[in-house]
């Protein structure tokens, strides 16, 4: 057999692998989710430059219906809903992303340390995790936000405190599963320190599922932040924020456009990130990984390679 032929077979396998990624993304919901999520992220980082009115400028007629002048109408103090909605994205989405990243980092570190070191470290960290998980998420977040004082920053802290435990749980179980793997033991036999063993041998192999969880969690984070703002524990007036916009819409119950559009904004962004997370899960499906591996092995044996 020639090395070139084997190279060809592997190149073909590699080509199939590259083709698999878009295919998994090409599920209808995956595309819808990606497009909407991307659109919202772009809005979140650029809105301040192109919104037609200052989000807090009270320059328009009060409670104007959606129309030509004001795309989505105005609120009870004459502010443009469209501008406030877009500006709200610049507040909510970056904070939600930051919140999820922070919760993921904290939870992953706690879970990895607990799972890797075991014994009393595991017991201590996991009972702490259980303690936080025992409370209903929103109630605990309300308690923390209320005791820290109502502000958007404190709402983010409260949301981080209530959302890291799920990452700790998932990471711990994944680390427990990998700790006894032969390649981890082989690394230890070669003199890897615990830190190196964790960062080189274990974490790269569990980051996929954790990322999926994080993507699915972005939607929940946005809901939680908006919920806290709705309850008056997050963004304070006059900050344009979706939750507080819905909250103030209650005062003008007849003007349907006050509540519907922020609600739709929350709905679309939460749904989009959930679709995205589902697609990511399909892409990173471990069984798909296995079938890929078998495919590569078959391709190799088909060329008659002596192992």
């Amino acid at each position: 057999m020639s090395a070139e032929r084997r190279g060809d077979a592997l190149a073909a396998a590699g080509w199939r692998t590259r083709m698999r990624w878009p295919r998994a993304w090409r599920s209808p919901l995956g595309i819808v989710g990606s497009v909407i999520a991307l659109a919202w992220v772009i809005v979140a980082f650029t809105a301040s430059w192109w919104v037609p009115f200052e989000p807090n400028a009270q320059v328009l007629p009060r409670l104007q219906e959606p129309g030509i002048d004001t795309l989505l109408g105005t609120d009870g103090t004459g502010r443009d809903i469209f501008s406030r909605l877009m500006t709200g994205a610049t507040v909510t989405i970056p904070l939600a992303l930051m919140l999820v990243v922070a919760a993921m980092v904290i939870g992953t570190v706690v879970g990895a340390v607990a799972g890797y070191f075991g014994r009393w470290v595991d017991e201590t960290l996991m009972r702490l995790t259980d303690l936080v998980m025992a409370f209903p998420t929103v109630i605990l977040a309300m308690v923390i936000a209320a005791s820290l004082g109502p502000s958007l920053f404190n709402a983010v802290i409260a949301a981080i405190v209530v959302s890291w435990p799920q990452y700790a749980r998932v990471t711990r179980s994944l680390v427990l599963g990998l700790r006894g793997q032969n390649y981890v033991i082989a690394g230890r036999l070669l003199g890897h320190s615990p830190l190196r063993s964790l960062t080189v041998d274990i974490l790269p192999n569990i980051i996929g599922p954790v990322l999926v969880l994080a993507t699915l969690d972005i939607g929940a984070a946005i809901l939680l932040l908006s919920g806290l703002s709705f309850l008056g524990l997050g963004a304070q007036p006059p900050t344009a924020e979706w939750g507080s916009m819905i909250s103030s819409a209650i005062q003008n119950f007849d003007a349907w456009w006050l509540g519907v559009f922020p609600g739709l904004a929350i709905l679309t962004v939460v749904a989009a990130f959930n679709f995205l997370g589902d697609a990511l899960r399909d892409v990173l499906d471990p069984t798909a990984e296995v079938s890929k591996e078998n495919q590569a092995d078959r391709a190799a044996s088909a060329t008659g390679t002596p192992a």
């Binding site: 396998a13 590699g14 082989a186 036999l189 070669l190 041998d201 790269p204 092995d297 002596p306 192992a307």
Partner: protein, 279 residues
């Protein structure tokens, strides 16, 4: 073979928790000299792998002691392994789980080289080790999933040998490979280990392979060593009934289509009653 003893395990007992506790290894002693290949054979469940894990320091034996280069082997704990103990390396049974799927194979072999350098030995390059185990040197930048099972096992062997071990523990390294590659991988391991002047504990249930590569053979049954001696002697004139039965279990391709008869329960019970034989 030299007179230097790299491994001296005395009266190993390995128990696994349960009620009653499972005694996987019951008083096994073995010595391996530098440059010597010792085979451990026996049916599954006879405690071969437990001996391997205890000898390599992965698990702590319940009783007995393991001396490596005349110093006790401390089991793998939370801490980084003592530098001198990185001279014990292991090759695992399942090649698909013995390499980190997210790292390039060259980097993984480099870990072995780093372990050797940490003990003050000369540096080498992963390509050299790829060449020694019969892999293309341009494959160092590949990932494990781009290799077949036999090739992965060669990478795992390269990683273990790159650490320049004094003792290589091979826990059924060839049983997951197909028949055509088993012998070549086993012979490769023996040659490279002899080249390094290291001792090897080679665990297998494949007696045909063991016969070709091992200097001495230990036959295990029910957690105890039933017979020890030079491989050729055990092969030619087995004295313990269990060894005889193990050798009789090898199918003979004589065209008659005979399958070796499985031993009866009475026979199995009688084996443990017969004291171990040392040739």
């Amino acid at each position: 073979m030299t007179d230097r003893i790299v491994l001296d395990a005395r009266d190993l007992v390995v128990r696994y928790p349960g009620s009653p506790p499972v005694v996987a290894v019951d008083g096994v002693s073995l010595r391996i000299g530098a440059g010597e290949t010792v085979a451990l054979v026996g049916e599954s469940g006879s405690g071969k792998s437990s001996v391997a894990r205890a000898v390599a320091g992965i698990d702590r034996p319940a009783e007995g002691e393991v001396l490596f280069d005349s110093a006790p082997v401390s089991p793998l704990g939370i801490r980084r392994r003592a530098r001198s103990l990185t001279a014990i390396q292991m090759v695992f049974q399942d090649p698909s789980t013995s390499l980190n799927p997210r790292r390039r194979v060259g980097d993984q072999v480099s870990d072995g080289i780093a372990a050797a350098r940490a003990r003050g030995l000369a540096a080498s390059r992963p390509e050299e080790w790829f060449e020694r185990v019969g892999l293309d040197t341009s494959w160092v930048s590949r990932f494990p999933h781009q290799f077949s099972g036999g090739q992965k096992q060669r990478v795992a062997i390269a990683r273990a040998l790159a650490a320049r071990p004094h003792l290589l523990v091979a826990d059924e390294p060839i049983s997951a490979l197909d028949a055509s590659t088993q012998t070549s991988v086993a012979a490769l391991m023996r040659d490279l280990v002899a080249e390094l002047g290291a001792g090897m504990l080679f665990i297998s249930h494949d007696l045909a392979v063991v016969r070709r590569i091992a200097d001495r053979t230990l036959v295990m049954y029910g957690g105890r060593v039933m017979e020890t001696g030079p491989t050729a002697e055990i092969w030619d004139s087995p004295r313990h009934p269990y060894t005889r039965s193990l050798l009789a279990a090898i199918p003979v391709p004589d065209g008659a289509g005979r399958i070796p008869v499985a031993p009866t329960a009475d026979e199995r019970a009688s084996w443990t009653a017969i004291p171990p034989i040392e040739n």
